[in-house]
Symmetry: C2
Subunit: 310 residues, 2 copies
Amino acid sequence: MAEAIYPKLAVIGCGLIGSSLIRAARAVGAVGEIAVADASEAVRRRAGELGLGDRVTADVAEAVQGADLVVFAVPVMAMGEAARAAAAGLKPGATVTDVGSVKAQVAEALSEALPETAFVVPGHPIAGTEQSGPDAGFAELFHNRWVILTPQRRDDDPYLEAVQRLADFWTALGAHVERMDETHHDLVLAVTSHLPHLIAYNIVGTAADLEEVTQAEVMKYSAGGFRDFTRIAASDPTMWRDIFLANREAVLEILGRFTEDLQALSRAIRWGEGDKLFELFSRTREIRRGVIAAGQESPAPNFGRDRQRS
Amino acid sequence: MAEAIYPKLAVIGCGLIGSSLIRAARAVGAVGEIAVADASEAVRRRAGELGLGDRVTADVAEAVQGADLVVFAVPVMAMGEAARAAAAGLKPGATVTDVGSVKAQVAEALSEALPETAFVVPGHPIAGTEQSGPDAGFAELFHNRWVILTPQRRDDDPYLEAVQRLADFWTALGAHVERMDETHHDLVLAVTSHLPHLIAYNIVGTAADLEEVTQAEVMKYSAGGFRDFTRIAASDPTMWRDIFLANREAVLEILGRFTEDLQALSRAIRWGEGDKLFELFSRTREIRRGVIAAGQESPAPNFGRDRQRS
């Protein structure tokens, strides 16, 4: 075990990501003491039972007291309020980050709420599952996943050192770290995460609402492809509502591109233009090979899930 | 091992499904002799090396000679030609089926091409992976998956017996069998398989074509949801081109519903209607629970693929 990168960690919000971060940090000895704050009594009770924090409280200001790193792991639209609650308790020189899926709006909310004595370094680990809550977390969640940091436009040494230390922390947890402008982050994630979720939620909703095909039929025959979409359409509703509200512009922009392309595809089907279909369907194979080569996906057929069946 | 249900099986087309069917049938002793025909020399060579057929040939009429069950496992638009090639060699009283993902058009093509002495029972196993070819097949592919048969409107005993025997054959391979009208099949599959593939191909194409976000970024940050879509967008291009051409009407009908719903969702995002988003996102979770309860999906987070990583 290495020496702790942060003697004291405070995690505000103990869901899938918050509790995974705690488990991962503890597993590699990246932190000393851990304080947890969560607004939900049920979550606090489970966090206590699971031994996730040395201290578990409803009081954000109390949790952050003396913390060297504060991580906000609450839904995107709740970041501002959490930061305001933390402001009074923050130790000067503390590093403050978050794990939200939208960065421009969150960066602004954190900067507004927090004192200048804090080093604010917004962040986003590109990792998760469709499950939620403290029980869903696991220490390996960030292994080989990317964490994007969107530092403020500051180049004073103490700030740059704080950014580097946060990058080292994530590296210790098994992740790769990239730095990026927050506006670019929001566009990239609109493509690789927000639009996929929107599409998945939408198709599952469409299928559920049909009159000619029953929900029972949809479920029975879902192995034809539909079941894949149900996974991300089972993600946390509050978290995803907030993401779409906070990243509206980029999501609508990318959705517009998607819709244009879909209309062209629809037209090709209507007019029986097999060559156009074949051309697209051949091109998309390459992208999967790239995703696998980038270490972000299992090469096993059907994600490996069916070979496990007996 | 039970007694063979069919003393001789002929499989026309030795890709993922054809080769899986052969492996599965042999594993449970459901057939005696096996003949394989495939138009591709490379596939025939691999089929020979893998020992998939007692006889491997390019000649469909030769392969079906003396067969009690003939299975067409070629792309949907190639079914008619394969059936015409088989017609001359067919034994009177043979059962002929297929594994195509579209049933109305295939049923018509088979009926037109084949002699009345054959029992034509179109079929569709709702099973597969994103991989193709004889090496991709495996015996367990049909375990706990549904096979839909769309029998002709005949109620003579020999035909009904042929249908029942084919159902028994699939059951022996580990599948569940359902009978259905071919038009309804095509609508159900448009929802549970064809639209999901269309959407997946489309979103991967959209992401690949963006200028503001590079393909490398799309691949690196794909764990946010996008990677899920790349799986089915890696499916066989010929097979899928044919499906969209052959099931045009049902696909366009379901795509129309999807697009309407997506426009409503887009509008809700634009106007910041968080309640509408939350309502949909909560509803769709139930559908995944149903898919898991129906035995068609792994309950493990992220399809279980990430826990396997070290």
